[in-house]
């Protein structure tokens, strides 16, 4: 089908809207309520166009492209209308900064938003760096409003986990309502009230948690303003690095994009496929877990009766020296199968070849991610890569090396503690619940001098004068084991179980209770509480 947009004759696709066709051909048409992952809504009226033979100013997002259509997207009348409509939108949105005559100077001096309890303008808005309303206001040269703006003066909503909601900034584009409906088939949130009392909310004044929100965070991802915000990420500003990797917090292995700050710390993660929601863990747990205050940042060696931070060479030398007497059956290495293939290969080689022990213990976590194990009889020295073994058994060991991401009661009585990089901090290959290879890519830096597991163990082997452990990278390890192609799980049609029922989510990672590290999870209902009780969590 051929149609004419702004004097260009273009080829249109079946089922495409005029707006989609224009955007596909790089014709810029302002739009706000339209979102690539959502059906047309026609609410914001910014994408109005003139079409020959059609009355008035149809919204191009909701008008199907048709053969022979003649469309104009940029006439004086349209510019005026769009500007007037955006002025109306800005009446209900704290827009003082957009209209301020000191705006240029102010933004030069204060390029990033100042952290504030309540957002009263762009200068205190967490969304400042990525705001679509700001961009439009600039494009359309908004300089004054026809009547004074109205601040709704609604209370900030912060009682739900993970999501901050400030409806005073909301422009009622309905993206959040629609994405929730599209992804979960239910109206957890919807428009409420009419006229100037219209707002987004849950039925009967409930909270998100009470209304059965799954906390997939999709609403935050599509919100064009700062109205919906990720409580953890909101003040980091625009991320500077975006890396597609795999979430390994459960077997579903969803592909996620991890946002990293300029300091290369994880800020936020969200699903890559915007049509299928991911679960609360993939959306909210990764950065908070990685940036937790209790993360192990440097190697520690017990000197006297205290663990003291030392440099890697000293730590590795200490481990090598103390492990040597235990070569043979007295040594065990315990890990769980959430480690990457590369890690596990190196663990196994180290146990068998360097320590000459048969006791390589790889735990299969249960459905909640809980990994518990005992130690084989006769074991007097162990290297634990997580919180897997009961404290009494650990205390009975003669030598305990802990190589982990968080301190635990067990690590408190270890001889040496080695800090490990995890999740989005490491690259490698992972096997999901369907036994498919999934790639892990390093999206951010680990805290302090923490290193990937395979690297620590390899360096340890080298320190113990073992040959064949001088891998250049995880890829070299992968090449040795002959790992095949690993592809991100992007085109999934099904929703991960935990995303459709958050009470089914995993509660543990590497033996650590996630809720202890990620505050918001404590507020979520969990049927898995019995599992927590079973392990004394």
């Amino acid at each position: 089908m051929r149609l004419t947009i702004d004097n260009h004759t273009l080829r249109g696709c079946d089922g495409e809207s005029v707006l989609q066709c224009a955007l596909r051909h790089n014709i810029r048409v302002p739009h706000l309520c339209t979102h690539p992952s959502l059906p047309a809504f026609g609410a914001c009226r910014m994408c109005v166009v003139e079409i020959d033979g059609m009355r008035g100013f149809p919204a191009s997002c909701a008008t199907p492209a048709a053969e022979g259509m003649v469309v104009r997207t940029d006439t004086a009348a349209l510019r005026d209308l769009r500007r007037s409509i955006l002025e109306l939108i800005l009446i209900e949105h704290p827009s003082a900064c957009l209209l301020c005559d000191k705006q240029v100077l102010c933004e030069e001096l204060r390029p990033h938003a100042a952290k504030a309890g309540r957002t009263t303008g762009c200068h205190t808005c967490n969304n400042k760096d990525v705001c679509e309303v700001r961009d439009l206001a600039r494009d359309l040269h908004i300089s004054a409003l026809p009547v004074p703006p109205v601040y709704r003066d609604l209370p900030l909503e912060r009682s739900d986990p993970f999501i901050d909601r400030d409806l005073n900034l909301c422009i009622l584009c309905g993206r959040c309502v629609r994405i929730c409906k599209a992804q979960h088939g239910r109206s957890t949130i919807d428009f409420i009230g009419r006229g100037s009392h219209t707002h987004i909310g849950e039925a009967f004044g409930r909270s998100l948690t009470e209304a059965g929100c799954r906390f997939c965070g999709s609403c935050i991802d599509v919100c064009p303003t700062g109205s919906l915000a990720d409580r953890y990420a909101k003040w980091y500003g625009a991320a500077s690095r975006f890396t597609a990797t795999t979430c390994i917090l459960c077997d579903a292995a969803c592909a996620v994009t991890v946002h990293a700050s300029a300091q290369r710390r994880a800020v936020m993660a969200h699903g890559i496929n915007t049509r299928v929601p991911i679960c609360v863990l993939g959306r909210f747990a990764i950065p908070e877990f990685l940036n937790g205050a209790g993360r192990l940042k440097a190697p520690q060696v017990r000197i006297g009766d205290r663990l003291r931070e030392v440099a890697w060479p000293q730590a590795l030398a200490a481990v090598a020296e103390r492990l040597t007497p235990f070569v043979g059956n007295a040594f065990a290495l315990v890990c769980d199968s959430t480690s990457t293939l590369e890690d596990r290969h190196v663990f196994q080689r180290f146990t068998r070849e360097v320590m000459q022990s048969p006791h390589y213990v790889e735990i299969q976590p249960d459905e909640h991610g809980v990994s518990r194990s005992g130690l084989p009889g006769g074991v007097r020295a162990a290297l634990l890569t997580g919180d897997f073994v009961d404290l009494e058994r650990v205390q009975a060991l003669e030598l305990l090396i802990v190589q982990d991401c968080y301190a635990t009661p067990a690590s408190e009585c270890a001889t040496v503690v080695l800090p490990a990089a995890v999740l989005a901090e490491v690259g490698g290959t992972w096997v999901d619940g369907e036994s498919r290879m999934r790639p892990l890519r390093r999206a951010c830096d680990p805290p302090g001098v923490a290193k990937p597991d395979w690297q620590i163990v390899c360096e340890l082997a080298v320190a113990m004068a073992a040959a064949g452990f001088a891998y250049e990278s995880a890829a070299a390890v992968a090449a040795e084991i002959g790992v095949g192609n690993a592809a991100l799980r992007i085109k999934r049609a099904d929703t991960p179980l935990a995303a459709s029922d958050p009470t089914n989510r995993r509660t543990h990672f590497r033996g650590h209770c996630l809720a202890e590290k990620v505050g918001g999870l404590r507020q979520l209902p969990a049927t898995a509480s019995s599992a927590l009780a079973a392990v004394g969590g």
Partner: protein, 648 residues
């Protein structure tokens, strides 16, 4: 089940028996309007009285006869006497009529409005000579106030469902052709040709089609659809049957506002009766055509009158309009082709089928054919439900049928089409009431609300009222409507508060253009009409508010100042006693003075100042107004007006 023809025979016999009834019958107009005026108590009292006295008499509830100003209206059948119509009959009057007229020989002239001539006893013929009735042609409303809406026999006796039988015999194509030749246009507001909408629906291949009757009458001051359903529910059902047959729809919904409980009850009764006679259900009258109707109650949102919002509401979603295309005729309720017609449009269908399109097009002008019902309300002498041929002038409606202003006040304008319509000034009253002329004047026909404004109505205040209505009824989806109406309301409130600035009118006009051109649905697109038309015809009033701080109609409180004329005030202290803000100083015997700092302009002093003194006067801008206090109208005065007019 008895056959339909047997039912017709029985119905005619019953109807005839009513005409020649040997016992007295009280026909009481008991639609919502009548009940609001007290018809409920009148009926109760009559029934109680008949029972305690052990009389042989009947009380029959009918729909609305039209003249609201005369409610409660009753028509009394007394054997061997001319039937008489009585106005403003409360319970006390009813008992007196029973005693003096029915049992005695006193015609009760103080309440009697009109008498039944020898030619017939239909209410229309009784009242036909009245000025309010003279200009009307009651076709759609022919049964309203005449038959019992809860008795299908009454409807059948007056050729009910004959139009549907005719439709069955000619088939869908011929129905559409008849509707096309009759030039029927939607009575809900926009006046879209009905047949064209039907054609779009018929041409869309589908396994299921729906027909929806839009009875979500939401315009302030409009009550035509309610009265029609309450007075003649079977006409609506018959219209639905005809439309459904033409469209091939097997399922119908009546979307009726929950604020119309009586209309809903009467529809439910009518549906049950039609089902019992085999006029609804499977294989109707052996024709193979099946049709079922259910009632969906609306929860009171003005926007539900918009087709896509109404569909969303029936589907159980939030009623927010959707952009078109697709049009509901192609993809509507649950994605199926759906036709939505207004109550009055549907009630026109039986007439077209029964009498033929030629008869139908006899009335009307240009492309507006047939009749149109209006609810005449506001500052007019004879308010009520009327039906007139399309194309008669506004002057005929307001002056002749409505009787002009109350107490001889000058009519300033008429507001048609509710919040989506506009104000048409008295200077343009020679405009014919048809779709095109009203649009050209900046208003719309709308569903038929007609609010008359007189010199005591401030058009700026009126525009403010309508804007506050649309503002609070906006669904909130698109910013031009949600925020634009709010911004316009802000400016209007500023103007009526006397704080308007010189460029506010330009601002108001700009905003109106944005709202009209940018809004998603009809509600928003037409919302500025009241402002645009008043700006167009009454710009001087806006300017007076802004420049001179003057409200000529003495409505905008912020622009009015109360004063006491020291030469007239004898110092009776009546005003001093009622003043809620203690703003009036004065001792008995000395002229009182209003302290302007403390006065809230509530007008209490004005209302208590004895008419012989009339010392309180008001000023607004350059105007000064001494209020000649209108004498309290005696009860029955309106009836006497009508009666005297009828005797002319």
């Amino acid at each position: 089940m008895i056959s339909l023809e047997q039912a017709y025979t029985a119905a005619r016999e019953r109807w005839q028996a009513l005409r020649t009834s040997p016992v007295p019958i009280f026909f009481v107009g008991a639609a919502t309007c009548g009940r609001a005026a007290g018809a409920g108590e009148t009926i109760e009292r009559l029934r109680a009285e008949i029972q305690t006295r052990g009389l042989q008499a009947q009380v029959i509830e009918t729909g609305c006869l039209g003249p609201c100003a005369l409610e409660p209206l009753i028509i009394v059948h007394k054997p061997d006497t001319v039937r008489t119509c009585f106005a403003k009959v409360g319970p006390g009057e009813a008992v007196q009529i029973l005693e003096r007229h029915v049992l005695g020989n006193d015609p009760c002239g103080e309440w009697a409005v009109s008498r039944v001539g020898p030619d017939g006893w239909d209410a229309v013929s009784i009242l036909a000579h009245e000025p309010m009735m003279r200009g009307q042609v009651r076709r759609v409303l022919a049964n309203c106030g005449v038959i019992s809406p809860e008795d299908i026999d009454h409807y059948l006796a007056r050729d009910g469902y004959r139009g549907f039988q005719q439709a069955l015999s000619i088939g869908p194509d011929a129905i559409v052709d008849a509707v096309k030749r009759a030039g029927l246009r939607g009575r809900g507001g926009a006046g879209f040709p009905t047949w064209r909408k039907w054609e779009a629906c018929r041409q869309t291949p589908a396994d299921q089609r729906y027909l929806i009757c839009n009875a979500d009458e939401g315009d302030p001051g409009a009550f035509m659809d309610r009265s029609l359903i309450e007075g003649d529910p079977h006409a609506v059902l018959e219209g639905m049957l005809i439309a459904a047959l033409a469209l091939g729809a097997s399922r119908g919904f009546i979307y009726c506002r929950a604020e119309y409980p009586l209309a809903i009850v009467r529809l439910q009764v009518a549906i049950r009766q039609a089902q019992a006679l085999g006029l609804l259900g499977d294989n109707i009258l052996g024709s193979g055509f099946s049709f079922e109707v259910s009632i969906k109650k609306g929860a009171g949102a003005f926007v539900c009158g918009e087709e896509t919002a109404l569909i969303a509401s029936i589907e159980g979603r939030r009623p927010m309009p959707q952009p078109r295309p697709p049009f509901p005729a192609v993809s509507g309720l649950w994605g199926k082709p759906t036709i939505i017609q207004n109550v009055e449009t549907l009630a026109n269908l039986p007439l077209i089928l029964r009498h033929g399109p030629e008869w139908y097009t006899e009335l009307g002008s240009g492309t507006s054919r047939g009749t149109k019902t209006f609810s005449l309300a506001g500052k007019v002498k004879r308010t009520g439900l009327i039906e007139v041929p399309m194309g008669i002038t506004l002057r005929q409606i307001v002056e002749e049928i409505g009787g002009g202003g109350i107490d001889g006040k000058a009519i300033k304008a008429v507001q048609t089409g509710g919040p989506s319509g506009g104000c048409i000034p008295a200077a343009k009253f020679d405009l014919p009431a048809d779709y095109e002329s009203l649009v050209a004047a900046g208003s719309i026909m709308g569903s038929g609300g007609m609010v008359v404004l007189d010199e005591d109505t401030c058009v700026v205040d009126l525009a403010r009222y309508f804007m506050s209505f649309t503002q609070s009824e906006s669904c909130g989806k698109c910013p031009p409507c949600r925020v634009g109406t709010r911004a316009m309301l802000f400016l209007l409130e500023r103007i009526v508060a006397g704080k308007g600035t010189a460029d506010d009118l330009q601002r108001l006009d700009n905003l109106a253009q944005t709202v009209a051109r940018g809004s998603l649905c009809g509600l928003g697109q037409t919302a500025p009409n009241p402002v645009l038309t008043t700006l167009r015809y009454f710009q001087h009033e806006y300017e007076e508010h802004i420049d001179k701080q003057q409200c000529t109609a003495f409505v905008c409180r912020s622009l009015i100042r109360h004063h006491i004329d020291p030469e007239r005030c004898p110092g009776c202290t009546a005003c001093v006693k009622v003043c809620p803000t203690a703003a009036i100083d004065g001792v008995r015997g000395a002229p009182h003075v209003i302290n302007p700092e403390m006065c809230s302009q509530c007008g209490s002093c004005l209302s208590v100042c004895p008419p012989i003194h009339a010392a309180v006067y008001r000023t607004s801008g350059d105007l000064t107004r001494y209020e000649p206090r209108s004498e309290k109208r005696k009860s029955g005065a309106a009836a006497q007006d009508l009666e005297s007019a009828a005797c002319d």
